[in-house]
């Protein structure tokens, strides 16, 4: 019997559910006319062709709630779900611009988006795509864009904060399930943002308008204001221009120097790439989790093997940003860069704490990569080796781990200003701790360094 998705329950038009291992969407009878119009208007074809909307097919599977069902469809599967608080700046910006592009196309064909939620967007084949096929409704001339508020909170607010205040602020989205409250955003933005027309209107004035009309004394229900199609288009254009105008500064030179300053000779770096490729290729994985992926150099090595999909996760939003920009340039469809702090990975949030999945609950990896990572966890963050082993074993079947010994300059740097309490942080100590959960299959030194590459298989 089918089970409703804990992320899909608010929209009466339909819901996602899983049944017999398939992920399906029930379209309800109340939505029938809008759904049919999505096709008859040509909007579905247009958006799918532009890769802005996820493709689906009609299926014969039985609906979850047959009394209210119109039909059941099966959308194309997204290999790994991610959320806006895990995206880099440009990922969120691209998702916002995609949403606006979709709305513009929709208006041209007599439809409009009912919601402006960032959770309607997923990254698929390297680009943002709308996965909520039921998000459209027929446009009635004169009516406002009901999604405007939500769009400003889910997209414009976090982007403005990342651009003008701090790159890390999209993490606020984990605390506020319906996007960043506009009054909070307004308060956190610098005074200079008041001179930006888009931020002045869509954030600062928007926030004031919200508070004013929320108070009980704001008067009786006024007549619904009329908004022309031209006006709506002007509004959308303004949002687009505002978002396009937001950017971030990245310390590019520091990133270029990163690999030079670590313990590799150019030779040993190339040798490490070869070792990683060889180890992973033999395992023929479908899903690889590259933890502490930095700018995705090794994700790139692995993504070309077979039909492998790589989640390329790092704690540093700048590194992930560079990763994403590089993948876009290369038109890489098999890598998803994400901002993840392994000592505090995305929790399960939302209604019932089940609406948005925790990071490690979204799918078992075939291979986990932990390259130049273990010292950050075990030494910098005081996580016992056994605890690291347990978490990684739960995440995937195979583990490719690069042991970075105390002789390495990176570890020396970490130990510089503290006591060395890490008696068991040795190669044998690590293997001993990991053998509680894994079998050690291969061990290969990285030439030109003191590091050791280890291949483990979960018991």
């Amino acid at each position: 019997m089918g089970m409703q998705s804990s992320a899909s329950f608010r929209d009466p038009s339909g819901m996602m559910f899983s049944q017999e291992g398939k992920i399906l969407r029930q379209v309800n009878l109340v939505y029938r006319e809008d759904f049919d119009f999505l096709f008859s208007s040509g909007l579905y074809e247009k958006l799918v062709k532009k890769k802005l909307l996820i493709r689906h097919q009609d299926v014969e599977d039985s609906p979850l709630f047959p009394e209210i069902a119109y039909k059941v469809i099966q959308p194309e599967k997204v290999p790994f779900i991610s959320y806006p608080y895990e995206w880099s700046f440009t990922q969120l910006k691209d998702a916002a611009l995609a949403t606006l592009a979709i709305q513009k196309e929709a208006l041209k064909m007599g439809m409009t988006l009912k919601d402006g939620s960032a959770y309607n967007i997923q990254f698929h084949q390297g680009a943002p795509v709308l996965i909520d096929t039921l998000s459209f409704t027929r446009y009635i001339e004169g009516t406002p864009w009901v999604a405007y508020r939500q769009f400003c909170q889910h997209f414009l607010a976090p982007l403005a904060l990342m651009s003008k205040t701090d790159l890390r602020l999209n993490k606020l989205l984990t605390s506020y399930i319906d996007g960043v409250p506009l009054d909070l955003c307004s308060r956190l933005l610098p005074r200079s943002s008041w001179f930006n027309f888009g931020l002045l209107t869509h954030i600062h004035l928007h926030s004031r308008a919200q508070s004013h009309y929320a108070s009980p004394e704001s008067g009786k229900d006024t007549q619904k204001p009329r908004i022309t199609k031209n006006g709506l288009q002007g509004l959308i254009d303004s949002l687009e221009a505002t978002i396009r105008g937001l950017g971030i500064k990245i310390a590019a030179r520091e990133w270029a120097n990163y690999y030079a300053e670590t313990n590799y000779t150019d030779e040993s770096f190339q040798a490490k790439k070869i070792i990683v490729r060889e180890l992973v290729q033999g395992l023929n994985p479908k899903l690889v989790l590259d933890l502490g992926a930095n700018t995705g150099v090794f994700s790139q090595e692995v993504a070309g093997l077979g039909d492998c999909f790589v989640v390329s996760a790092d704690i540093d939003p700048e590194a992930v940003e560079i990763n994403y920009r590089q993948r876009k340039k290369e038109r890489q469809k098999n890598i998803l860069p994400l901002v993840i702090d392994l000592t505090n990975p995305s929790p399960a949030i939302g209604w019932d704490n089940r609406e948005r999945d925790s990071f490690f609950n979204r799918g078992q990896a075939d291979v986990v990569l932990a390259l130049a990572l273990i010292h950050h966890l075990a030494i910098a963050n005081n996580v016992p080796l056994g605890a690291v082993a347990r978490t990684m074993a739960a995440a995937g079947e195979y583990l490719v781990l690069e042991f970075v010994p105390k002789e390495d300059s990176q570890v020396k740097r970490l130990l510089r200003s503290r006591d060395d309490i890490f008696g068991d942080y040795t190669l044998s100590g690590l293997i001993g701790a990991f053998e509680l959960y894994y079998i050690l299959e291969k061990q290969m030194p990285v030439p030109g360094s003191q590091r050791m590459m280890l291949l483990f298989k979960r018991k």
């Binding site: 038009s13 890769k51 606006l100 406002p144 308008a209 919200q210 619904k224 009329r226």
Partner: protein, 52 residues
């Protein structure tokens, strides 16, 4: 529509749309004028800068 549009948001939208709509109208009108002179239309700008 199941999402709450927000009363303040709707009112602000109406004000902005009235102001910004003039810009759209002008742009559309101007394109028509340019069309009369046989100028080539620039291609539509979607968020993706790459062609697929």
């Amino acid at each position: 529509m199941y999402v709450d549009p927000g009363s303040g948001s709707v009112i602000l939208q109406a004000v902005l749309a009235a102001v910004l709509g003039i810009g759209v109208f002008t742009r559309v009108f101007w394109k028509k004028i340019k069309g009369l002179f046989g100028k080539k239309e620039p291609t539509e700008d979607v968020y993706q800068e790459k062609e697929d």
